[in-house]
């Protein structure tokens, strides 16, 4: 069983990296199409080898560390960002159960009772990568970028947490696998928690440092923000971590609010269980890819928030809304329980 898990994790690792790499390609293509251009089309047919070319370029560049930088932390920053970005995929249920050679495997690395909290914890550690990287650069723009990243992360984690509280109250479990099963039995969470979903979505944009909340790397004000001084694959790791985070957040959004690998009415068709599982996994990936596209779509449609607007929205907008959502959910849940008797 451990061997199977190790193999699954390896496959997950490769898939995560591939999706992240192709997200960079997708980002450029989506950006181009939204701006009436066609985007990269030189490397291979339709430019599909572009991520390889970009990766090669990143590795070939000079790896420069500024003289006044703290060398150890400067190297540690991108490493933490990358490692934490890859760690969250483990608890996401990528599919149901697969029966091979008489054994049953779950398409999930592990399903701890505290699944969501684990995701939150790892995402919070992720900001250390940005903070250490920015601070160790010994550059005021990088420092400002990392300070922004830290304050933004702290502010929006509250909204994110509150939207999850309501969700957990409704589903009665913190385990991601449990949440998906609950949705399969009772309908997707988006039907019960539209406001919570909205809060979660907005906070996810802020947590992944994506536009319109990409204040930490705001190039019009801060040159490159926290990665101003980074070059070569250290920069590559920061960018890669952002895309990995985007992939994982999209998967988490799909899992929490859109039924994860659940496809309505699929189990009534009476298909082979293995086939059902695979279709479910494909469905989860389709949902995830839609949200990745949505992230990009928003990025290339909206201007960036100002930092005080960002803080206003977080503290005065999303947190009160989140608390209201928790209260409403609790009240309605209780009333329904009373009515049922």
């Amino acid at each position: 069983m451990t061997l199977a898990t190790a193999l699954f994790l390896l496959v997950l690792f490769v898939i995560t990296l591939t999706v992240a790499a192709y997200s960079t390609y997708a980002e450029r293509k989506v950006a181009a199409f939204l701006q009436d251009r066609i985007g990269p089309d030189r490397a291979g047919p339709f430019g599909i080898l572009q991520p390889l070319a970009d990766g090669t370029k990143m590795f070939m560049k000079e790896d420069f560390i500024p003289a006044a930088a703290n060398r150890r932390l400067f190297t540690l920053g991108p490493a933490i960002a990358m490692v934490t970005a890859l760690m969250t995929g483990v608890v996401i249920p990528w599919g149901g159960e697969l029966t091979l050679f008489g054994e049953t495997f779950k398409l999930q690395g592990t399903d701890p009772e505290i699944g969501i909290l684990y995701v939150f914890a790892i995402v919070s550690i992720g900001v250390y990568g940005i903070m250490l990287g920015g601070w160790a650069s010994n550059n005021k723009y990088a420092l400002l970028g990392s300070v922004r990243a830290a304050s933004q992360m702290v502010s929006y984690e509250l909204g994110l947490g509150l939207s999850i509280v309501a969700l957990v109250m409704l589903n009665g479990t913190l385990s991601l696998g449990g949440i998906v099963e609950h949705q399969a039995a009772n309908g997707w969470n988006i039907l019960y928690q539209p406001l919570g979903f909205l809060i979660f979505l907005v906070c996810a944009f802020a947590e992944t440092n994506r536009s319109p909340f990409d204040m930490p790397e705001c190039e019009t004000e801060l040159v490159g923000g926290y990665h101003t001084e980074f070059s070569s694959m250290k920069l590559g790791f920061f960018l890669f971590a952002e895309y990995t985070n985007m992939f994982i957040s999209s998967a988490v959004i799909s899992t929490l609010y859109f039924g994860g690998y659940h496809v309505p009415g699929l189990d009534r068709l009476g298909l082979d269980p293995n086939l059902t599982t695979l279709i479910g996994t494909a469905a989860l990936f389709a949902k995830t890819f839609f949200f990745i596209f949505f992230f990009m779509w928003v990025r290339w449609s909206t201007p960036r928030f100002r930092f005080d607007q960002l803080m206003n929205l977080g503290w005065k907008g999303l947190i009160p809304l989140g608390i209201a959502n928790v209260l409403i959910t609790g009240t309605v849940y209780h009333l329904v329980e009373l009515w049922k008797g």
Binding site: L34, D36, R37, D41, W297, T302, G317
Partner: protein, 194 residues
């Protein structure tokens, strides 16, 4: 007095009134923006994928030069240097030489350009060389100068400038010979060129 008529139909009155609730929750504006961009997503792209596709160029386009030959395949250029004098970018240089008796089939007149060079990076494609030429030897064409990684290949010598001997491969410059140009050339002063 009535308000002055706006100069364009895109002018908007700016106001600093407080935003309404709908404006303050951002979402309607956000959705409107997303709808605008998704429309562009499916729009036809005006991109022309350059080496494979080329934008159609007008016949009078001033591109890469050609040194013409006459009907018998002799080079028209006599290395008078008027083009080099006319050139505002000083891109043209040449070395004249005297035609030997056995070269009468190669050069139209007794004097010819042994070396004729145009620096394509200096050239501003103004066409003054063509206007200055009394022998109708140099023309700008609708061909392009291809990009390169080095500077040296852009100094074009006679091997690249003189049009091929083969009548089928001659470079057509009739596009540059507009009605006005042809009428101008009827002037008896230029009869020796024909």
């Amino acid at each position: 007095m009535s308000a002055p008529k706006p100069l364009t139909d895109r002018s908007r009155v700016v106001s600093d009134k407080r935003m309404t609730l709908m404006e303050r929750i951002y979402l309607p504006a956000m959705v409107a923006g997303l709808l605008i961009t998704i429309k562009h997503f499916f729009r036809r792209k005006p991109t022309i994928r350059y080496p494979e596709q080329e934008r159609p160029r007008p016949a009078v386009y001033r591109g890469r030069h050609v040194l013409k030959r006459d009907e018998q395949g002799r080079e028209r250029c006599t290395a008078c240097g008027l083009c080099a004098v006319a050139c505002p970018a000083e891109a043209i240089s040449m070395v004249a030489d005297e035609r030997r008796p056995d070269e009468a089939h190669l050069y139209r007149e007794e004097k010819y350009a042994r070396i004729y060079q145009i620096d394509m990076l200096c050239c501003i494609y103004c066409g003054l060389c063509e206007e200055a030429c009394p022998k109708e030897a140099i023309f700008l064409t609708d061909r392009l100068v291809k990009a390169d990684h080095l500077r040296m290949p852009f100094v074009f010598g006679k091997d690249e400038l003189v049009e091929p001997l083969d009548p089928a491969k001659r470079i057509d410059v009739s596009g540059r010979q507009t009605a006005a140009v042809l009428k101008f050339k009827q002037n008896p002063r230029y009869a020796h060129n024909r």
